[in-house]
């Protein structure tokens, strides 16, 4: 029993580390043609956590990822941090809800998560900038999110079909 718990936290920590590194590396990928659109690779990790671990564990990974990644990039407590935080929180909440309302494919959850990540960011920008003009960005960002969400979803489904780790959810 102790062993499994230890293994559980080690795996979670590894996933957190992967999420942070993915998040950090992502900022070095030049946006290919489409400005400002990020792949959101860290979401793959969060999605896996949501499926394989308990909710509070996944949430911890998600929030820690945001904090640590921003500390790493030197944007902690800046506008970018709050945007990132609200995006992550909203996307987590919606992904969690949709996962439990119906048996949806991880791909669909990924798309929903990516979309609401963008919406969460826009909401914060809306509050900080006090201008409705930013809403004009929403459709564009949303469309990009759907595409990246699908890509991440495919990766996520592939990973989950490979039995790398134990399923900790019901222990």
């Amino acid at each position: 029993m102790r062993k499994t718990r230890l293994l559980r936290y080690v795996t979670l920590s590894l996933l957190l580390a992967i999420a942070i590194v993915l998040n950090y590396l992502e900022s070095f990928i030049p946006s290919i043609g489409i400005p400002g659109v990020k792949l959101g690779l860290a979401n793959i990790v969060i999605l896996i956590c949501l499926y394989k671990y308990k909710v509070y564990e996944a949430l911890t990974v998600d929030l820690l990822r945001v904090v640590l990644a921003n500390l790493l990039k030197g944007t902690f407590l800046s506008i970018a941090f709050y945007m990132s935080l609200s995006g992550a929180a909203l996307s987590f909440l919606v992904m969690f809800l949709f996962m439990h309302i119906n048996k949806l494919k991880p791909l669909v959850i990924s798309v929903i998560g990516a979309t609401f990540h963008a919406i969460g960011q826009i909401i914060v920008a809306l509050i900080i900038l006090q201008t409705s003009g930013i809403l004009l960005y929403l459709p564009f960002v949303m469309l990009a999110s759907i595409i990246t969400g699908i890509l991440n979803g495919i990766v996520c489904e592939r990973i989950m079909n490979i039995k790398i780790n134990q399923d900790f959810k019901n222990e």
């Binding site: 469309l143 759907i146 595409i147 699908i150 495919i154």
Partner: protein, 338 residues
């Protein structure tokens, strides 16, 4: 599933870049000594070509400087009259242009005598002034007096007759012996052609368009969004707002003018004096889409004959004429609605 995904991806990218805007068609051509811009927001390219064909045809028909093979146009009529002919066979198309002043008079129950002030046959006088403006030199006073005398003597009169039989494809112009008639249809051609173009647009059910026949003659339908056009008046700060489904006829002295000895001379000549008018700088007539070949003529008419308003007494008009008079960049007397 993969195929579906690729399809969705493809679709999304396609829609990202495939947002082509329907802009309609625009074409600019040079006819009637001016730049004509055709803007159609509906229909297709063939419609634009058709309109260009119409414009080119009437350009050739009313050209006073060139002849075209197989066509009796204004230049060939003028040459025939010069060589002493008194009866010239012309096409019905040209005949109806020449009859416009008479039609206007009839339309206003002969309260108006446009023929007295807007004469189509006084090309000689018009040319004298065009030369004078170009060379910045006043024409010989005696020549002008002589021409005015000849006008009063009826040497510039002409008659257009079309055979009563419906099968007649041609009409005949009759002038007196030693006639001085030289046609210059500049005052009415564009308005007349606008009518033809408008008839074409009605026939093709095109409602969204703007055709600018060189500022003096503008044909507007609706904009792409169904709204009207804002028409600025040259030389003023005045804007006619939200004009749609209308014809805008303008007579203006601002384009062709010159100043000699401190006095401004331009190309709109009063045949009663032989000299340019100086009552207004610009007269703009806006009317809904009916009989607007008359509107173009009326703007020139009002330019020359500012007292013509009295002629409208007792004339029952079915639609509105909005007449704007401008002098020194200012609107005079408000907008006259007839």
């Amino acid at each position: 599933m993969k195929k579906v995904l690729i399809f969705i991806l493809f679709l999304s990218f396609f829609s990202l870049f495939g947002c082509a805007k329907s802009k309609g068609f625009t074409k600019t051509i040079f006819v009637f000594d001016t730049t004509v811009t055709i803007n159609l927001y509906e229909g297709d390219e063939a419609n634009v070509d058709d309109i260009v064909d119409i414009l080119n045809y009437y350009h050739k028909l009313t050209d006073a400087y060139h002849t075209y093979e197989g066509m009796t146009n204004v230049k060939s009529i003028n040459d025939s009259i010069k060589s002493g002919q008194t009866e010239i066979e012309i096409s019905n198309d040209l005949a109806s242009i020449l009859r416009v002043p008479k039609d206007v008079d009839a339309f206003f129950h002969n309260n108006i005598k446009t023929n007295d002030v807007v004469m189509l046959g006084i090309g000689e006088l018009t040319n004298i002034w065009k030369e004078a403006i170009k060379n910045r030199q006043l024409p010989n006073e005696d020549t002008i007096t002589q021409i005015v005398q000849d006008i009063n003597d009826g040497k510039y009169n002409y008659e257009v007759t079309t055979s009563a039989t419906t099968s007649a494809t041609t009409s005949v112009i009759t002038v007196e012996e030693n006639s001085k008639v030289q046609f210059d249809l500049g005052a009415i051609t564009k308005g007349y052609v606008a009518t033809i173009v408008h008839n074409y647009l009605v026939e093709k059910d095109i409602k969204k368009y703007m055709i600018d026949l060189g500022q003096s003659t503008i044909l507007v339908g609706e904009k792409e969004n169904g709204k009207g056009f804002n028409v600025g008046v040259s030389g003023t700060n005045y804007v006619l707002k939200n004009v749609k489904n209308s014809f805008i006829g303008t007579a203006s002295i601002l384009e062709q003018k010159t100043t000699i000895n401190g006095k401004t001379y331009h190309h709109i000549i009063d045949p009663r004096t032989g000299y340019p008018t100086d009552t207004y700088d610009t007269v703009v007539v806006v009317t809904p889409m009916h009989n607007f070949d008359k509107t173009d003529l009326l703007s020139t008419f009002f330019m020359i004959n500012p007292n013509a308003l009295s002629f409208f007494d007792g004339v029952n008009l079915d639609y509105d004429y909005h007449i704007h008079f401008f002098k020194d960049g200012k609107l005079l007397n408000g907008v006259l609605t007839l």
